[in-house]
């Protein structure tokens, strides 16, 4: 996930809020040519605010999924227009999530703490965000481990394959979530405890204000001229 992070992230709550707003706004425009203007505008905005690399890393997988789903829609409906619209909606996911994905989760957690959000929310974000990359790494390790026990990925050994992959994966998931919960708790994190300091405070800057204004202006512009 670190590969998506930007050097100067936007204020986390602004990123979070605009990710949702842009997605909803884009869905509203999904059948209009204006969606393309929104994409172009966002690309320029992200370039200006150092998020272009994140967008470019996000686009290929989403474009691929969009192509696959879009092709399916084309085949079932026999019309290319709904297929293009589906493709656009899936690309919208990449565009709308860019500022959020570019923000290190620790910034979001610290803002939650600064604003006094319930700790259970922070705990959820914390464990989910840590869990995904950990799980991917675990799956790679299990595949390696299977090879070392002489198990091949083949139809003949499908029962052993099931045991060799699924059992360790399930056990690891349970084990990891237990260990992580224990780790968090033994380091003093408690949902009941309200007092918590913030090591590096995240402040709303002029840059964040300009970003907010420009995003709003972009959406208004797309609505008027699109």
């Amino acid at each position: 996930m670190e590969t998506f992070h930007v050097k100067k992230p936007i204020y986390p709550l602004v990123s979070f809020l605009f990710s949702i707003i842009i997605f909803a706004f884009g869905l509203f425009l999904a059948k209009e040519i204006a969606l393309i203007y929104l994409f172009l505008g966002l690309t320029l905005l992200y370039s200006a605010f150092g998020h272009l690399k994140t967008l470019l890393k996000l686009l290929p997988p989403f474009a691929l999924i969009g192509l696959l789903v879009g092709s399916g829609v084309w085949l079932t409906s026999g019309d290319y227009l709904p297929a293009i619209q589906t493709f656009g909606r899936i690309l919208l996911l990449a565009f709308s999530s860019t500022p959020m994905v570019g923000t290190p989760p620790i910034n979001l957690l610290r803002v939650f703490a600064q604003w006094g959000f319930p700790k259970v929310l922070s705990l959820g974000v914390l464990i989910t965000l840590r869990f995904i990359p950990l799980l991917i790494a675990e799956m790679k390790q299990i595949v390696h481990a299977m090879k070392t026990r002489g198990i091949r990925f083949g139809v003949k050994e499908r029962r052993t394959l099931y045991r060799g992959f699924m059992i360790p994966l399930l056990i690891r998931i349970v084990g990891m979530s237990d260990t992580m919960a224990i780790s968090v708790e033994t380091r003093g994190f408690s949902v009941e405890e309200k007092k918590q300091s913030v090591y590096r405070r995240i402040r709303f800057s002029l840059r964040d204000f300009i970003y907010t204004i420009l995003t709003i202006l972009l959406m208004i512009g797309v609505l008027i001229y699109g």
Partner: protein
């Protein structure tokens, strides 16, 4: 204790009164009437065989058992004179810092700096104190605060978790195998740090298998066996429980190349994990890979075992059928949990076992007879590792690659494994490659030493080079 400068306490740091534990009503007790007192200004080491309940005791003190993981507990736990029996781990963390096993799964944040700050933030320290603490502890444990935690080696992760706990400034510290993944230098650094903390009045309880290596630095010792705790009057009494580890050195030349590395490089996450490695592994030899944490030992083993394809250079293999590679090359991971998946210990060994005779021989040699019907995941970490090695050896491999085989292993278990591997090496000429930080294993199980530094071959030599390695790392520290 009152003489300790800056920290005078009347109450004991840890006091356990008639502590017993069982996982369920019908299951046998894991701990039986444990009584233990640890004073401020003391370091105590707790030893015992694998699976005898050491980690259970640690979990009882930190409150993980029974509050988070269930089970039936009796007796009382006092920390700093307070009865904390009914307090959850989060509440106990006001008194107690716990460094548990499996550091890699305990890391939550992406940057070392944030990981170290996490506990301090939870304890409501001011940003200035957090800054001071994390810089001090990172410096002491040789950590780079801007490093990405995901890219760290096992030993480096262990140091991060240790530093994260030390930053929280509790006066009672609990360590469950803190040296397991640390290199020699890391171990000595941590030991010296713990001694400084002890002199400041901290109480420290360490669960460890490598007792010989830390013996001089501890004040008291205790031994846990079959759920009973024996706290020794004289600390040296623990030594009677530790087997004398034999040295199996030999001289001789190995002539038949098995695997040849030519200018091998390996890039992982834009980091050069291996750099221009030239190496020949010979049939029948015992090669020991030594190096600091993060020097590339595990990566080298994985390239050797064909789990990773090098990004540069060539690896040539002689005399092993490529299709049969994973049946002839056995690899033991640092973490045994990945390699165990069958419903019973017997089925695990028999899965790829070559014949009932060999399977029986291995069960006997690794003393697994009592555990045959158990689920592999229900075993202790040390027992799991023994089982993984047994299951791989049942494949009758030509090459065995071992990554930190001694972690979680008591002295007897270690000797058992060493004896079996050496017998196979003598009788069947199997090739053994080990990456380890364990001085006992390194000194005893090597024909040749490969010393790697920052992903490159630094020195190659006979077993005496191992002595130099450990001497030099100690000297560097001094």
């Amino acid at each position: 204790m009152d003489k300790i400068k800056g920290f005078a306490k009347k109450s004991s740091a840890i006091e356990l009164c008639n502590l017993s534990f069982r996982f369920a009503n019908e299951s046998p007790p894991v701990l039986k009437n444990i009584n233990l007192t640890l004073q401020y200004g003391e370091i105590m080491v707790l030893g015992g065989l694998s699976g005898e309940g050491k980690s259970t005791l640690v979990s009882m003190i930190s409150g993980i058992l029974p509050h988070m993981m269930g089970g039936i507990a009796e007796g009382q736990v006092h920390l700093d004179g307070q009865d904390v029996t009914n307090l959850k781990p989060g509440e106990r963390s006001r008194y107690l810092g716990s460094v548990l096993q499996n550091a890699e799964n305990q890391i939550i944040h992406q940057k070392v700096e944030d990981e170290l700050a996490f506990g301090c933030e939870n304890r409501n320290f001011s940003p200035e104190i957090i800054e001071e603490e994390i810089h001090e502890k990172a410096g002491l444990l040789h950590l780079n605060l801007s490093s990405q935690t995901r890219k760290l080696s096992g030993g480096e992760m262990q140091r991060v978790i240790t530093a994260a706990i030390l930053c929280m400034k509790q006066r009672i510290l609990l360590f469950d195998e803190p040296f397991a993944h640390l290199d020699f230098d890391g171990m000595k650094t941590l030991l010296s740090l713990l001694n400084r903390l002890k002199n400041k009045g901290y109480a420290i309880l360490i669960v460890e298998h490598r007792i010989e290596e830390i013996f001089d630095q501890v004040d008291r010792t205790a031994w846990l066996e079959q759920g009973n705790l024996e706290v020794f009057e004289e600390k040296k009494e623990i030594l009677k429980h530790l087997p004398v580890f034999q040295t199996y050195r030999r001289t001789g030349q190995f002539l038949n190349p098995l695997i040849v590395f030519q200018n091998v490089t390996m890039e992982l996450d834009r980091h050069e994990a291996l750099n221009d490695v030239d190496l020949t592994l010979y049939h029948g030899e015992r090669l020991m890979i030594l190096g600091d944490n993060g020097s590339g030992k595990t990566t080298l083993l994985k390239v050797m075992g064909r789990l990773l394809k090098p990004t540069g250079g060539r690896v040539c293999v002689k005399g092993i059928n490529e299709k049969e590679w994973f049946n002839q090359v056995g690899m033991i991971f640092q973490n045994p949990n990945y390699q165990l998946f069958m419903p019973t210990v017997y089925e695990e060994i028999a899965l790829k076992g070559k014949g009932e005779k060999l399977i029986r021989e291995i069960i006997e040699a690794f003393q697994l007879k009592e555990l045959l019907d158990r689920h592999p995941q229900s075993l202790s970490e040390g027992q799991k590792r023994r089982l993984t090695i047994a299951a791989v050896m049942a494949m009758d491999p030509e090459i065995v690659l071992l990554d930190e085989p001694t972690v979680g292993q008591d002295g007897r278990g270690l000797e058992m494994i060493a004896e079996y591997l050496l017998k196979q090496n003598r009788e069947k000429q199997i090739t053994i490659v080990t990456a380890t930080h364990d001085q006992r294993w390194a000194k005893s199980m090597a024909d040749r030493i490969l010393w790697i530094k920052d992903g490159s071959v630094y020195k190659v030599g006979n077993a005496a080079l191992g002595d130099n390695f450990f001497r030099q790392t100690e000297k560097n520290r001094e």
